[in-house]
Amino acid sequence: MFRLNKHICSIFMAIFMLFVISADITIAGKTSKEKYLKAAYINNLLRFTQWPDGYLNGDVNLCITGANPFGRAMQAIVERNKANGDIKLIENIRPGAVGQCDVIYISMFEQNDVPQLLIEAKAKKCLTISDEPNFIASGGMVEFSEIRGKLSYIVNVKKLSEAGLSVNPLLLENAGKVIR
């Protein structure tokens, strides 16, 4: 009886492991796609955003809180985008260091630092982007969010205007949501 139970346990264990492994593969695929799409959106936001005349001098500093979550996807896309000059990627930005950024991506893992980072970003006319779910509500400019089952971006035009920035209406047409 114990043996039989042992066999049944082994089978259930195998099934459980198979489920866990397949779920892990699905999550990994979904994560990779998300990374790629986010990198693409950031790239296009950079391309179609306009800073006040004479504000950007030469390179655009793209800051990321924590480590670069996009990997080579971001690097490849960024290399093509020359609309606002060469893009320089700066990782592990912490509150107090936003002054060197033109664009800042705030990872959802740094949600506690959001209020402070937004205050610093506003003073610097810095484009703020995040995948934190309440980022727009917190006063952020662009939030990555899943809308109708598809990863998209929400743009807060009002906040952009307050910072003296503007996004090409063509990009807004493709946004998941626009807040004016």
Partner: protein, 507 residues
């Protein structure tokens, strides 16, 4: 130009004006059409380029997003394709193709009536290109200096074809109107040139037909006005020429009348002279025949011997002088008849060699008395000729007599005859080694009653009627006479006579 050879000046001028007008209008129309054609093509290209640029810019964000999310999200290409469907309302747009920066097809719109639903590869139409039915254009889509992608757009050429059709129709109408207008204008304008010329032509024709030199071409301008153009001058000159001809003709008619009168008088005088000479000759011959006859009886002592030789000598002198005088009178009579056309020939067959022999026999005696040698060259095959036997011998004898008369003793006279078969003529050459003549003397020798000089006259007796009479006789025989002479060397007289002149034989 040969087509215009028989065309009137009026039609020529009209044609010239119309041709020039037609060419001018044609060139103008061609220039305008060509310029407009070029402009409309450029305009189409610019319009299409602007359209392409606008469409490209309009879709730049979608293309950019679509490119970056390629493989994960095709929403943006669908959105772009949806926006391109707007062109369904524009029938002239046949194809619009959007490509990403990697030149991959991103979105497209193909009109329903286009069978080829494929987009061309980027780079096929590097510039705007017209095909037989379409205009194709490709351009980059750029945003802020970045190449976002490419756009290809194809339209039909309706605008261009429509322009060509309308322009050609308009051009044809303009040409037609211009030609009609220029025709009527030409008809009106050409009059100022053709009318004066035609007036001259009509006047010239009338003058030619009626011989009326009092006619004048009508002056086209008012006499009070002073016109100095070529046509006015031409008419003036033409009329002046007619006046000149009229005046000269008047003078000519007057002179002709005078000449006619003078000629009639001369003819009457000549006739009177001829008649007088004929009468005189006749009147002289009657007593002269008695003198010759009776002196001959005395010379031949027909009625008994003359005892005193002096009487016999005088009788011979009377007889010789009488005969000589009779010859002169006969010559005068002959030449008078010949000049008045009353000398008639009795044409008959004459054995040439025999007639010439007879002449030689007569002349040889006289030549012998003067110690002059007479030689001859008579070929065996001389033909029978159709001449007046008596007059023929008279011709030959006259020339031979002259040759002997003007040749010094121990000189020579040669008779040479040849049958010119090619011309069916005979040539009689009589050559002497006598005193000869200059060119001027030869002309004088053929004039009646003229002897070359006083010196000769004294040394060589004669009336000067021999050669003129001979010339008349040769002429009557339809022949000709030629004299070739060198002073102090001699003379050759050549007589050419037809062997048979149908004109003479049939008379």
């Amino acid at each position: 130009m040969s087509i215009l050879a028989n065309t009137s000046i009026k039609n020529r001028l009209t044609l010239i004006i119309i041709t020039i007008s037609a060419i001018s209008v044609l060139l103008t129309v061609i220039s305008i059409v060509a310029y407009s054609y070029y402009n409309i093509k450029q305009e189409m290209i610019i319009d299409l380029d602007l359209n392409a640029k606008a469409i490209g810019e309009r879709n730049s964000a979608a293309i950019s997003l679509g490119t970056d999310t390629m493989g994960f999200d095709d929403t943006y290409s669908q959105q772009a394709a949806k926006s391109l469907r707007f062109f369904k309302t524009n029938k002239s747009i046949l194809k619009v193709c959007l490509y990403n920066a990697y030149k991959d097809e991103f979105a497209k719109y193909i009109a329903d009536n286009v069978s080829d639903k494929a987009c061309p590869k980027v780079g096929v139409y590097s510039v705007a290109a017209f095909t037989s039915k379409t205009l194709n254009l490709e351009r980059e889509i750029n945003y802020a200096g970045d190449n976002i992608g490419y756009i290809y757009i194809q339209t039909d050429k309706y605008k261009l074809d429509n322009f060509i059709a309308k322009t050609l129709t308009t051009a044809a109408i303009v040409m037609l109107v211009a030609l009609i207008a220029s025709y009527f204008l030409a008809l009106y304008l050409q009059r100022s040139i053709s009318n004066p010329i035609l007036g001259i032509v009509r006047t010239a024709d009338k003058v030619g037909a009626e011989r009326d030199y009092s006619l004048r071409a009508t002056q086209i301008y008012d006499d009070k006005q002073t016109h100095n153009n070529e046509l006015a001058k031409l008419i003036k000159s033409f009329n002046k020429m007619l006046s000149e001809i009229e005046s000269r003709e008047g003078e000519m008619v007057h002179k002709n009348v005078q000449l006619e009168e003078a000629k009639n008088m001369a003819e009457k005088a000549n006739e009177a002279k001829t008649q007088f000479l004929a009468n005189i000759s006749h009147e002289l011959r009657t007593p002269l025949n008695s003198i010759i006859g009776f002196s001959d009886i005395i010379c031949t002592e027909m009625l008994g011997p003359i005892e005193n030789d002096k009487y016999s000598e005088y009788a011979h002198n009377i007889n010789d002088s009488g005969v000589h005088l009779l010859e002169i009178i006969n010559d005068i009579l002959d030449i008078s008849k010949a000049e008045s056309g009353k000398l008639e020939l009795r044409i008959g067959k004459v054995v040439l060699s025999k007639a010439l022999d007879e002449c030689l026999n007569i002349i040889e005696r006289r030549a012998f008395d003067n110690n002059i040698k007479v030689t001859h060259n008579l070929p065996d095959n001389l033909p029978i000729i159709f001449v007046d036997r008596v007059r023929f011998k008279q011709i030959v004898l006259n020339i031979l007599s002259n040759a002997v008369k003007f040749t010094e003793p121990e000189g020579e006279v040669i008779l040479d005859v040849e049958h010119l078969e090619k011309d069916n003529q005979i040539r009689i050459d009589i050559t002497d080694t006598g005193i000869g003549m200059s060119e001027d003397d030869i002309d004088k020798a053929f004039q009646s009653f003229v002897q070359i000089d006083g010196g000769l006259n004294r040394r060589h007796e004669g009336t000067g009627l021999g050669l003129p009479l001979t010339k008349q006789l040769v002429k009557l025989h339809k022949g000709r006479i030629n004299v070739d002479s060198t002073p102090n060397k001699g003379t050759t007289v050549s007589v050419y006579l037809p062997v048979r002149s149908d004109e003479l034989v049939n008379e």
